[in-house]
Symmetry: C2
C-alpha cells in the first residue's frame, strides 16, 4: 500500500476549499463542547487540594472545603471577566488577542506561549486523568496507563485530522451524562450524610494518615496558599469559550456569554459538592484510585443499583475527560493560526490540510502532548502545576488587557465608536465597577500565579518559567525572519540593475563519458556557447580512456572544452567546487553561473545506496553559493531507449566500454 | 567546531593517493600480527569444550583432553591445506578467491558470506573475550562489560580509520608476551602436577558439579560431537594469512607458509597445555571467570611472584584479544574490496578514505560487530557457534576448491603453465597425496559444519543458516544491478537517434511575482523562446494581484505566458505535476522538457523549517520523470543586492507589496 493510500484510508478523501462550512452551535451543544474542559476539572481539582493538605495528615483535610470556596469565588470573578471579553470581542478574544489589542506585542506573546503550553497540557492532563478513571474501575490496567494514553492521543489526532464538526451530537452526550451522574451521586451522598428520606446513612470510613511534615516546618499560611493554588486547576478551560465566540448561533456574543455563566455555575456546583462529600466522608488521596471514584464508590455501591451508577460515573468521567482533551485539538491549532497569521509561528501552521483542518497544528499538538504523557508517566496530578501556571498567566494578562480596554472605552465620546484590528469599541456605561472587577481579577490571578510559581517551582513550575521566555524569543525570531524575507523579496523598489545577469558559461562535472554524461553535455551545448566538461582525475591511467571516448562523439563534444584536473586525494567534490568557485567569482563576478549535473536515477532507494552520492553532494555544496544555477539532467537507469525499440528484459549486444557509475 | 574539523581531529589530515606504501612484513612481525587471532582462541577454546561436557557433570570433563587432541589433528590438516593454498595463490587466496577460481560464483559467494560474518564475529568475540579477561581480574567491572566492549570497538575503529601500518612493532609485543606468559604458566603447572624440581604440588581443587542431563537422554556420541564442534573455535583465524600473503617479504609465499606452520604449532601447543591442566586441575567453567584465568590463578598465585605472573597473563590475554579483533579490521575491508571489485558489494566499498584505508568497510564492520555485542550482551561463548559455523563453511569450500585445483594442475602438461584470473598454475608432483589430504580436510570440516549446524541450531546457528542465503541473494542482486547500469550507460552501441532532443519549452512554477521568481523567469527566457510561468491559484481573490505585479515588469515578463490554474484543493503540487506531465507527454513526447524552479535559500536549517517545502516536493516528484530536466535558480535570502549597495542590517525603505514565501 502506498503512503498516499494509507493517508486516504486514515484521513479520508480531500475536501475542496469551497466545502469549508460554518455550522453554528446552539447553547445546549455549545455548553457541551466548551464546558467539557472546565467541568471535567472536577475529576481532579478537589484531589489536587487534598494532596497538598495530606502532608499534615488527615486532620488537615478539614481545610479542603474552605479552600474550595475560595477557589469558587475566584472562578466567579474570572467568569465575569470573560463574559465582558466575549461581549467586546465577538470575533474571538482569547488572551492573545486581548493582549495584542490592548497591551502590545510582548504581553500577547507571553499569553500565546502560556496558552499554547496549556492547550498541550489540556490534552495530556485530560487523557491521563481519563485513563485514571478507567484504571480506578479496572485496576489491572494500571501498568498500561501510559500506552493507553498514547493510543488515545493517536485516535484523537486521527479523528481531528479527518475533521470533526464541533457540533456533533455525540459530543454533547458525555458532558451531560457526567453532570447528571455526578450530580446524582452528590445528591444521594448529601441525603445519606444528613440521614434524610430514610436512605441508609453513609458507611463509616475511618482512615487516619499521620502527618509527614510538621506545621512548624511549613507554616499554615504557606500550606493554605499552596492548597489554594493547587485547587485553581478547577479554573482550567474557562477561557476556551472566549476564543470560540464566532462558533455560536447569532447573537453569538450574547449566547456565548450566557453559556459561559451557566458553565461556571454548573462546574462550581459540582466542585463544591465533591469537595464537601470528600471531606465529610474522610476520604484520603490514593495513587491508584481517584477521590471522585472513592466518593462515588462510597456513596453508591452498597445501595441497590449502586454499582450501575458507579460504572456510569466512571465511564462518563473518562469520556468527558477525553472530550476535554479534544478541546485542545480545537484551541491549539486555532491559536497557532492566529499567531502564524501575525508572523510569530511558522507559516505552514496556517495551511489547511486535505480535510480543511489545520493539520500541522494538530500534529504538533499531538507530538507535544504525547511527549508530556511519556515524561510524566501519565500522572496528571504531577502535570497540574505546569497547567495551572499557564492558565493563571493568561488570566492575568487577559484581565489586565480588559482594564486597559475600559480606559480606552472611557476615552470614546458618547455614541462614538473606534475600530481596532480585532474589534469595534463603542462607548458604554458602568466602566468604573467593571474596571474594578477586572483589576481585582487580575490582581488575584496574578497573586495565585506568583504563589504557584513559588510553591511548585521544584515540582515542575520551573519548566514553565523557563519555557515561556524561550517561546517568546522563538516567536520574535520567527517574526524577524519573515520580516526579512518579505523585505528581501519585495519588488516595489526593484531596479533593473538589481537583477543578476546570466553568464554565458556552463560547467558540466563528469566522471566519465557515458550515455548519462552525453545527455547532460547535449543539454548544456543547447543553452551556452561556452561549455566546460570538468573531470577530476584521481588515477592518471584513466585519462587516455576518457579522451578516447570523448573524441568518439564529435556530434556532441565538438567545440566543448574538456578540463581534466589531476587530484592527489580521493574526495573529488572539493576540487570541483573550487573550480566552480573560480569561474563564478573570478571569471564572471556578479553573474549567474550554470552547473549542469548529470545524474543517474536508479529505480529504488535501495539501488540508490549502491552508488556514490557525488551528484547529491555537489548539489548540497552548491546550495550555499548565491549565484550558481544548478541543472539536473536525469538519466533513468531503467528507461527504454527510444531508437532501438528493444523490449525490456532483452539484453543488448555485448562489446564496448562500460561507463563509470560514479556520478 | 565544524563536522569537518571534528573529522580532522579524530582521523587526521588526508593522505595523497601517492602515499600508499607497501611496507612488507618479516616472519617475526608477520607471525605476531596474523597469529594473534588463532592464538588468542586459546582464551576460550578449551572452555567451549568444557561448557558442553559439564552438562553431564564434573566426571564428563575427563573427555576434554581427548577431544582437544582431535581438534589439534584437524588443525594440522587445515594448516597443511592452507600452506598449499598460500603457495599457489601468492597474491592472496582466501576462501572467496580459491572458490571463485576453482568452483564458480555461487560457492565463492557462500564463502564470502561466511567469511564476512566471521570477520565481524572476530571483532565481537575477541573484544568480548578481552573484556572477560579484564573482568576475571577485576570482578567489579562485570556489569559494565557491554559498554566497555563497545568503547573498545569505537577506539579500534578510529585507530583503523586513521590507518595503522600493519607492521607496527607495538602489535608484535602482546602476541609474544601472551605466548610467553601462558607458556610459562603451563610449564610451571606441569612441573607442579608431576611434582618435579621441588616446586610445591598444585593445591587440591575438588569441585563436584552434578549432571544436569542424563547420558541416556543425550547419547555419548552426540555429546562428544557437540564438544568437538565447540572446540573447533580453536580453528578460527587460521585462514587470515592466506589472504594476506602479499604483505610478507619476498619470497612472500614461502615466508607466509613457514609462518603459518609455526603459528599452527604454537597455537596447538598452548591449546594442548591449557586443556591438559584445566582437566587435571579439576577446573569447572564459571560465568564470571574464564578457565584460563582460573588455571593461571591456581598455578601461580600461591607462589612467590605468582600474582605478578597472573596479572601479566590477564593483561596480555586482553591485549592479544583486542589485537585479534584488530585483524577483523584488516580482513573485512579487504574481502569487501575484492567482492566490490567483482560487483557483488556496493562500489563505495572500494573507495579509499582520507587516510587511504577502506573507510566504508571499517565503518560497516564496526556497526555489525557492535550490534552483535549488544545482541549477545558481550557473551563471547554464546557467539562462538555462529563463529565456528562460518569458519567451517569457508574451510570446507576452500579445501574443496583445492581438490579441484589439483585436478586442474594434473591436467597441465609437465613444464607448462596456465594463467587464471587470480594466479598462475604450473605442473607439479605429488598431486595424489596432496589431493587426498585436502579431500580429507574438506570431508572432516564438512562433517563438523553439519554437526555444528545441527547441534547448535537453536543456540544461534539458525542465524547463520538464515543469513548466508540472504547475503548470497543480496550479492547477486547487487551484481545484477551493476550489470544493468553498465549496459544502460555503455556508449559502444550508441546511435545518434538514441539521444533525446531538448524541447524548446521551459515551465516555471511560481507562487507569486517577487524577486526570486523574477530571477527564475529571467533565466528561463534566456534559454527558451517558449517560457510558461505556471501559478496554481487556490484563492481567486489573489489573481488580480499576481497579474498586476506580472505586468509591472515588462522587461522580464513580456513575451512569456502566464498560466493561472484554478484549484479547489490546497496541495498545489498535484496540479503542477499534472501540467508538466501534459506538456511532457502530449505536447513534446520523447523530448526533454525543462522546469525552472525558483527557490529561496534561507541562511540556516532552522529557518528553512519556517517555509513550505514546495520546491523540494516538486523536485522530488519530478525525479521519477525520465525526460524532465530540473533547473534550480536559487535566491539567497540574505545576499546583498548589488545595485543598491545597502549595508547589511539596514532596513530598506518601506512600501510596495511583499512577495509570498510559498515556493
Amino acid at each position: 500500500m502506498s503512503p498516499a493510500a494509507i493517508k486516504r484510508l486514515l484521513i479520508g478523501k480531500p475536501f475542496p476549499s469551497s466545502a469549508a462550512s460554518h455550522e453554528r452551535l446552539d447553547k445546549v451543544r455549545g455548553l457541551a463542547i466548551f464546558a467539557s474542559d472546565p467541568i471535567s476539572s472536577n475529576a481532579y481539582a478537589t484531589e489536587a487540594i487534598m494532596m497538598v493538605l495530606i502532608a499534615l495528615g488527615t486532620m488537615a483535610l478539614a481545610l479542603t472545603m474552605p479552600i474550595a470556596l475560595a477557589v469558587i469565588a475566584l472562578v466567579a470573578l474570572v467568569v465575569f471577566s470573560y463574559t465582558q471579553t466575549i461581549l467586546h470581542y465577538p470575533q474571538g478574544g482569547g488572551a492573545y488577542i486581548v493582549a495584542k489589542d490592548n497591551l502590545g506585542t510582548l504581553p500577547a506573546l507571553a499569553a500565546g506561549a502560556a496558552l499554547l503550553g496549556d492547550y498541550a497540557l489540556t490534552v495530556s492532563v485530560s487523557v491521563s486523568a481519563g485513563m485514571r478513571a478507567l484504571v480506578s474501575a479496572v485496576p489491572e490496567l494500571f501498568e498500561h496507563r501510559v500506552l493507553m494514553a498514547l493510543v488515545t492521543i493517536l485516535i484523537l489526532t486521527l479523528i481531528n485530522l479527518r475533521g470533526v464538526r464541533e457540533s456533533g451530537n455525540v459530543f454533547a452526550a458525555p458532558t451531560y451524562a457526567f453532570i447528571a451522574g455526578v450530580g446524582l451521586v452528590i445528591v444521594i451522598g448529601l441525603l445519606r450524610y444528613y440521614e434524610l428520606l430514610g436512605i441508609p446513612p453513609l458507611p463509616p470510613h475511618p482512615v487516619y494518615v499521620p502527618a509527614t511534615a510538621s506545621l512548624a516546618g511549613i507554616g499554615l499560611v504557606w500550606l493554605v496558599l499552596r492548597a489554594f493554588a493547587a485547587g485553581c486547576t478547577a479554573l482550567t478551560g474557562i477561557e476556551a469559550i472566549s476564543d470560540g465566540v464566532a462558533a455560536f448561533q447569532r447573537p453569538s456574543a450574547r449566547n456565548a456569554a450566557t453559556t459561559m455563566i451557566v458553565m461556571g455555575v454548573l462546574a462550581m456546583t459540582l466542585f463544591a459538592g465533591i469537595s464537601f462529600l470528600a471531606t465529610h466522608m474522610n476520604l484520603v488521596p490514593e495513587p491508584a484510585e481517584s477521590i471522585l471514584s472513592q466518593m462515588t464508590r462510597g456513596v453508591t455501591t452498597d445501595l441497590p443499583g449502586g454499582r450501575l451508577l458507579y460504572g456510569w460515573v466512571q465511564l462518563f468521567t473518562m469520556l468527558i475527560l477525553v472530550l476535554a482533551a479534544n478541546t485542545g485539538y480545537q484551541d491549539f491549532p486555532r491559536l497557532s493560526f492566529f499567531m502564524a497569521r501575525d508572523g510569530f509561528m511558522p507559516r505552514w501552521m496556517m495551511n489547511r490540510g486535505d480535510r480543511l483542518v489545520f493539520s500541522s497544528g494538530i500534529v504538533v499538538l499531538a507530538l507535544v502532548a504525547s511527549a508530556l504523557v511519556v515524561v510524566f508517566h501519565g500522572d496528571e496530578i504531577a502535570m497540574l502545576p505546569l497547567y495551572a501556571i499557564g492558565v493563571m498567566m493568561s488570566f492575568t494578562i487577559s484581565q489586565t488587557g480588559m482594564v486597559r480596554l475600559w480606559h480606552r472605552i472611557g476615552a470614546i465620546p458618547t455614541g462614538g465608536r473606534v475600530r481596532t484590528q480585532y474589534t469595534v469599541l463603542r462607548s458604554e456605561t458602568g466602566l468604573g465597577w467593571k474596571r474594578a472587577v477586572n483589576a481585582t481579577g487580575a490582581a488575584v490571578t496574578g497573586v495565585v500565579l506568583l504563589v504557584l510559581a513559588a510553591t511548585k517551582f521544584r515540582e515542575g513550575a520551573w519548566i514553565v518559567v523557563l519555557a515561556i521566555p524561550l517561546l517568546i524569543t522563538m516567536f520574535r525570531a520567527i517574526n524577524r525572519h519573515y520580516d526579512h524575507v518579505r523585505r528581501s523579496l519585495r519588488t516595489a523598489d526593484l531596479a533593473p540593475t538589481d537583477m543578476r545577469e546570466v553568464a554565458d558559461v556552463v560547467i558540466v562535472p563528469i566522471a566519465d563519458v557515458h550515455r548519462g554524461s552525453l545527455r547532460a553535455l547535449k543539454y548544456a551545448r543547447r543553452i551556452s556557447s561556452d561549455v566546460r566538461a570538468v573531470s577530476i582525475v584521481t588515477d592518471p591511467a584513466l585519462k587516455p580512456k576518457i579522451l578516447e571516448r570523448w573524441n568518439r562523439f564529435p556530434d556532441i563534444t565538438e567545440g566543448l572544452k574538456l578540463e581534466l584536473i589531476d587530484y592527489e586525494f580521493r574526495d573529488i567534490v572539493d576540487p570541483l567546487i573550487a573550480y566552480i568557485d573560480r569561474v563564478n567569482n573570478v571569471e564572471f563576478p556578479s553573474q549567474l553561473v550554470t552547473v549542469v549535473v548529470p545524474e543517474f536515477v536508479p529505480q529504488s532507494l535501495a539501488e540508490n545506496l549502491l552508488h556514490n552520492q557525488t551528484a547529491n553532494l555537489i548539489r548540497l555544496r552548491l546550495r550555499s553559493q548565491p549565484d550558481v544555477v544548478v541543472i539536473d539532467v536525469p538519466y533513468h537507469l531503467y528507461e527504454r531507449r527510444p531508437a532501438v525499440g528493444r523490449k525490456a528484459g532483452q539484453s543488448p549486444t555485448s562489446g564496448g566500454d562500460p561507463g563509470h557509475t560514479d556520478t
